[in-house]
């Protein structure tokens, strides 16, 4: 399983990303997880961050580096990544649950409080997820940011949701 062959980042590939927060930082609270693994010409995430926690620099094809101590987990980078490759994970949400904020560009949008299916990087249903927040302001330009609560052990595995179409 690799990004080039299957379109899915392997655990090894994920571990090497400069946009991946450390285990220690994850335990401290909400933080961005930048799953950007190819040197493509793109840098809006760098400007999106109000805390200066994402660095691309020159050339523009550099991978984004997460400066994890500066990241507040605000999630403003999520809708500005054209590749929809940034998530925010909060492992401190509750005793059993973590939250995952993810970009979502399908209609209908889920509603707060609704239970949806949580999907992994291969689109497999891994568990139910409770929708904690739905953000879709004008500035996000139709990339809604959905916060879901999932069991802690699934927080680094869940990367999408499926909403039943009514």
């Amino acid at each position: 399983m690799t990004l080039e062959k299957d379109g899915v980042l392997s655990p090894e590939e994920l571990a090497e990303l400069p946009g991946m927060p450390s285990k220690e930082r994850l335990e401290q609270g909400a933080v961005a997880v930048i799953e950007c693994a190819q040197e493509i010409p793109c840098n809006p995430c760098e400007k999106a961050c109000p805390s200066g926690a994402i660095r691309v620099g020159e050339p523009i094809t550099n991978l984004p580096t997460l400066i994890e101590d500066k990241c507040t987990g605000c999630g403003l980078c999520i809708p500005l990544c054209p590749g929809l490759a940034i998530f925010v994970v909060d492992m401190t949400y509750s005793d059993q649950e973590a939250t995952v904020q993810l970009p979502y560009e399908f209609l209908p949008l889920p509603k707060r409080g609704e239970t949806v299916k949580a999907l992994d990087r291969e689109g497999r249903v891994v568990c139910p997820a409770r929708v904690v927040k739905v953000l879709n302001p004008k500035g996000f330009d139709h990339t809604a940011v959905i916060t879901i609560a999932v069991p802690k052990d699934q927080a680094m595995n869940v990367r999408n949701i499926a909403v039943d179409r009514r």
């Binding site: 190819q38 809006p44 590749g83 999408n160």
Partner: protein
Amino acid sequence: MRETELAIVGAGPAGLSAAIEAASAGVQVTLIDENQKPGGQLFKQIHKFFGSKEHYAAVRGFDIGAKLLDEVKRCGVEVMLDSVVWGIFSDHTLGIIHDQKNIRLKADKILLATGAMENALAFPGWTLPGVMGAGAIQTLINIHRVLPGKRVIMIGSGNVGLIVSYQLLQAGAQVVAVLEAAPKIGGYGVHASKLRRCGVPILTSTTIKEARGKGKVEKAIAIKLDQDWREIPGTEREYDVDVICLAVGLTPLSELAWMAGCRFEYVPELGGHVPIHDSNMETTVPGIYVAGDLSGIEEASTAMEEGKLAGIAIAEALGYLSPEEAKNRKEAVSRRLDSFRTGPFGEAVKKAKERLQRQGEAK
């Protein structure tokens, strides 16, 4: 006979950007397009673009198109729509058909920004209704809001195949699989990952063997390929689909450049036969320039920069910009183009472009 200082053929991202640069420097610009609306492919692009934060990154393609059109209007460019350029002559005259009438337009400089056409792929059953190009599907779903089918198989995993697959999901279709004959996914990993986490499989070293159906597509037969790209018997897999979408690359739309007598080079990395051009985007025929996909298949973002480069160079050649002013502006654009052309996806294009331009400078 009508006259203009700069005639631009093609009002896509390259043509629009060139028109803005040249007209805002004072050049009289006539922008010609065969479609009823300008914008080329931009208005079909509903996804957010990659790129630099200074230049439309994270802005959706159709919004970029709207901004360019506003600017074109503001700087007084004459736009001729529904107008087919059918010929180009040695005295810098274009033959144009508009409203069933023939118009001759003489221009001091001509920029060809005609873009590209989609490649086809022939296989048994490929003429059945339901086998469609990715561009047509994008027009249907994103412009006309018509779903061409319910279950789609995508052939090709370049950025076009990946993006159109995702847009089909957004439009409410099911994408049963993306097939890729090469052993690696062609487009950006982030586009592939977006599809995969929606549950769409991407099958590398796999191609389409056959389309079946009575009067329309009902089934697609996929087959695996070995390392020498030969079909592996017994690995066929059948999919129930009503659409087979072809996204197997683009070829520069070069007829007018051939007709003008431009010298060409065959460059596989750039999509086929490409007019040789220098760093001003001028071809081997003095006064005839190229930009965008015609000068090598790339992205809309690079097409816009190349258009600017041509627009600046033409304004300079016509005396509207001093050499120093033009040099400064060109350098800024070239820097951005260089940065776009780094990394694993841009490197091959950069080398091919440099080769082409060395020939262009030596002309």
